[in-house]
């Protein structure tokens, strides 16, 4: 899979007549099986980039293509997965019921084995029948990510997936995501403002500038997988984090 994604976006602000450029011009390519993290200050349009890839917004100019197809086509093929900061689970359904949703939408039968696999992937054995209200914030977020992976999407989109969690849970969830991601290795774009999270998880980190959002830096992360907590104590890890943080501050 060769993903070519390009978007030049011109959006008008709320209530304002004159249009301003929120994102771009922006060129962005993600290789198959690559985990790319997009970081930037709030309001730099990183979520807009994600919504463009999800087909939730149309680019004003330019093209967004995934595997040579526009995102709308991938929606129709049910080959996109997405998870947001808010878990957005159906509160009246159990963990299993929520994991079944993508299959229902795609008119596919969710086999017991596959649902079981996803429950295991989310690390929620024993909580199959629990409702979201009975789960902790971290557990809900894992269900949301497992739901995004249910149909083995060609592209996984994560928008600040751990933004609403406390620092300790967030750290733990980072390693959980690393584990979950290793199992399927989907092509992934994660939007975050947490530099450590980005370096820990991604193969490549992109720094977006403020208004209009453009790629200021494109940095490869050379660490081997699986990555562990030890990695976070290495000098190299800290050097990358410091460098990206500096970029973020001047972006």
């Amino acid at each position: 899979m060769r993903e070519v994604t390009r978007s030049f976006l011109r959006r008008s602000g709320a209530g304002q007549r004159q249009s301003f450029i929120a994102v771009g011009p922006l060129d962005l390519q993600i290789g198959e099986g690559e985990f790319v993290a997009l970081i930037g200050a709030s309001g730099c349009g990183k979520s807009t980039v994600l919504r463009l890839l999800a087909g939730l917004e149309e680019p004003s100019t330019g093209q967004v293509q995934i595997n040579g197809l526009p995102p709308r086509d991938l929606q129709a093929q049910h080959s996109l997965g997405i998870a947001f900061q808010e878990h957005a689970l159906l509160p009246w359904r159990s963990v299993e019921g929520n994991l079944r949703l993508p299959f229902e939408v795609a008119d596919l039968t969710a086999t017991k084995e596959r649902i079981g696999e996803l429950v295991t992937l989310a690390g929620l054995e024993g909580f199959e029948h629990a409702r979201p209200a009975e789960l902790s914030g971290g557990m809900r977020q894992r269900v949301a990510i497992a739901r995004a992976l249910a149909l083995r999407p060609k592209l996984l989109l994560l928008d600040e997936p751990f933004g609403a969690l406390d620092a300790v849970t967030r750290r733990r969830m980072n390693f959980e995501l690393e584990r979950i991601w290793q199992e399927q290795r989907p092509t992934t774009l994660m939007v975050t403002h947490n530099v450590e999270e980005a370096v820990l998880l991604a193969d490549r980190v992109l720094v977006l500038t403020q208004r209009p959002g453009r790629v200021r830096k494109d940095m490869g992360v050379p660490f081997a997988r699986p990555r562990s907590a030890d990695l976070m104590r290495t000098a190299e890890f800290h050097r990358l984090v410091d460098e990206l943080t500096a970029d973020l501050e001047t972006a």
Partner: protein, 251 residues
């Protein structure tokens, strides 16, 4: 704590009813204000009891018919307005207009068009339609934006979005609308009967007022209140059950 919460209202009600009895017996509020015991004597009198039962069946029948018709129309219109935003503004205004028509002015028109027998049901249907249109519309829009974006990204059709998410999220609001509408349906049916329906509680109210049958008038009013409150109570229980089944919809 729970016991105390039940005791105070009970004491309050008893005091109120006792005051009523005293006021009626002493005649301090005039002849049109009979003692409660006198009103209850009406229910012991077989012919008048039969009249009340017969009339109640007629009125509840009209109210239920109007209630059902108003619910169906209100929900259907709300769904159309939800799916076709282009029509929403117009339908909103139409619903407000229909609801703004004074029942007293509308009655004679309905007598000519719908007939004496169907006027109570028609007048019951109008407020129910409006309340259900509003409450269903609010409910359908209550689903979180992120949930909508997840569904769209997963490739859900508009119909799947409606059936699997929005319709369920709308249920509590819909039942809350029905709860309020139940009383409105009774009022509409009774007012409708004043325009010359062949039978019904509204007719008994009118006749007993004109013939100065004060205890019968009060007895009828109490029956109406009991029916209205039971409808409200039953639907409140339903609403609470649905709310707890669906869970917090702030997700």
């Amino acid at each position: 704590m729970k016991l105390r919460a039940a005791i105070y209202p009970a004491i309050g009600c008893t005091l109120l009813l006792a005051a009523w009895e005293v006021a009626g017996r002493t005649g301090m509020l005039g002849r049109s204000f009979p003692a409660l015991s006198q009103v209850f004597h009406v229910y012991e009198d077989a012919p008048r009891r039969a009249l009340l039962v017969r009339s109640a069946i007629a009125t509840v029948g009209s109210a239920a018919t109007g209630f059902a018709a108003g619910i169906c129309l209100g929900i259907a219109t709300a769904i159309i307005a939800h799916l076709l935003p282009l029509l929403r503004g117009g339908l909103d205004r139409l619903a407000v207009l229909v609801n703004a028509l004074p029942v007293i002015a509308l009655g004679p028109v309905l007598i000519i068009t719908a007939g004496r027998e169907d006027t109570p049901a028609a007048l019951a249907a109008i407020p129910v339609f409006f309340l259900l249109y509003v409450s269903t519309g609010v409910g359908l829009r209550a689903a979180s934006q992120q949930l909508g974006m997840v569904m769209t990204t997963l490739g859900a059709s508009r119909w799947q979005q409606l059936a699997r998410v929005e319709a369920v999220v709308a249920l509590p609001s819909l039942l809350s609308g029905m709860k309020v509408a139940a009383s409105s349906a009774m009022i509409g049916a009774i007012v409708g009967e004043w325009f010359g329906a062949p039978s019904g509680l509204g007719l008994v109210v009118l006749n007993s007022m004109q013939n100065f049958q004060i205890p019968l008038l009060w007895a009828t009013v109490l029956v109406i209140a009991a029916i209205t409150l039971s409808g409200y109570g039953l639907l409140s229980i339903g609403e609470r059950a649905v709310r707890s089944r669906i869970g917090e919809c702030d997700a």
